[in-house]
Amino acid sequence: MAVLLIAEVSGGTLAVDATAKALTAAKAMGDVTVLCASAGCGGAAEAAAKLDGVSKVLCADDAAYGHDLAEPLADLVVGMAGDYSHIVAPATATAKNVMPRIAALLDAMVISDVTAVVDADTFERPIYAGNAIQTVKSADATKVLTVRTATFDAAGEGGSASVESIAAAANSGISEWVEDKVAASDRPELTSAGIVVSGGRGVGSEDDFKMIETLADKLGAAVGASRAAVDSGYAPNDWQVGQTGKVVAPELYVAVGISGAIQHLAGMKDSKVIVAINKDEEAPIFQVADYGLVADLFDAVPELLEKL
């Protein structure tokens, strides 16, 4: 079995954590070739070559791949798909955009958010916002799938794969990039952070959400939010943890003022240690918390800040 792993490359830099976790899943399916496609992706390709278990790295360096547009990347991958039994990517926004397009062009059904590899044809994935786990077996000649990174450990370093440059595919030019509005932050990235501090509707306002951010900064953590907090305008959408947001599995997850709707739990229940602070002792979040503190967050968080 030959597997093509599409590396997550952002601004010419390899997203090591996401790619290394997807690599662990990909290795269970066969021999792994990594594709880095971006504008100026030489550095990313070198970084990917160092990951343990990579046989070869292909580098498609072209301006067409600089902004993660689906159409040119799909055309590139489809052109080389004949050499592979599996096409795999970490389930990032970029991959969710492009992988179904690749699958359709190959007349295959995409398998999204794989959480376990049973064998080379059979995969587990969550459905109904994580309320059920489905095991599916694919009959397609080429398996196209995205991997939910939170459930796989990152592959280590120590590899020394060769890097080969490949030509870009023709660009249809039917879509073009205009601008990115990415929040600049010194905090760790949400999906790979060791600690995540999240706030929910209980935080009550955008101003009070600053308290969650202060606690996160004290712990060197990323900031998350529940869907309710995002919908109420307390936090930006890219902080959303849950089935429709990001799925995280840090060492420590601190849920403040979050009731624990199933859609939120789906995004964080694989965390190693979960702390919940909520004044409602019946809140469902306590059913998954290792340590629950029934308290008013406006008392508990300042005290916690003082004592950490």
Binding site: S10, H67, L69, A70, E71, A93, T94, K96, V98, P100, R101, A103, A104, D107, A108, M109, V110, S112, P126, I127, Y128, N131, A132, I133, T135, V136, K137, A139, S175, E176, W177, V178, E179, D180, V182, A183, E189, L219, N237, D238, Q243, E251, K269, I274, V275, E281, F286, Q287, V288, A289, D290, Y291, G292, L293, V294, A300, E303, L304, K307, L308
Partner: protein, 253 residues
Amino acid sequence: MKVLVPVKRVIDYNVKVRVKADGSGVDLANVKMSMNPFDEIAVEAAIRLKEAGQVDEIVVVSVGVAKAQETLRTALAMGADRAILVEATDDVHTDIEPLAVAKVLKALVEEEQPGLVICGKQAIDNDMNATGQMLSALLGWSQATFASELAIEGESATVTREVDGGLQTIKVKMPAVVTVDLRLNEPRYASLPNIMKAKKKPLDTKTPSDLGVDVTPRLSVVTTTEPAARAAGVKVGSVDELVLKLKDEAGVI
């Protein structure tokens, strides 16, 4: 311009999903079904374009069981003009895969010649997040997924997308497939007079074979199980105790 909006009948998002004990799937018998919430946002987006004078007809499509016509009537009551039901199964437990749905929609696009297709970004039952991208691929159209802003200007659409870490704005050539995210709009409720009027709006019924499409699934479901339960931990009495436990017992800070 004509707009096509696919809508899916799914278990209502407020209903607690029950996995069948024999592992054969999720129990959908006698469960409240509704329009997929992301599809409501897609219908609303189409209606707003019509209200702004940029669209003159909204055709809604559903691919599934006969009862999906209820979902189509809801879309008609919101403000869509015409509906097409593609009856692809008579078993509510059979989920038509996104690839098959995309092929059905492609055939309908070729018949109807819309200038734009607006879809929900994913259905809350299979959570596959694929139909819009697949349709775009099969048609050779441009795609703009996870839209939180949408503006049509002549031969192109400018779309702001929800991506990891923030927002991305792209410009796509029309015709295009746009899939919508939560923050694009808040869908309206259908008023009673509009619900009555919707009953008289045209609803055509077709089958996949009328359209020359094979909807045989590519993925066979081996089993469906409950997710592993996480054991509940302990309640701590104070912030001091919490800090102590995190330092000494869990060793995470």
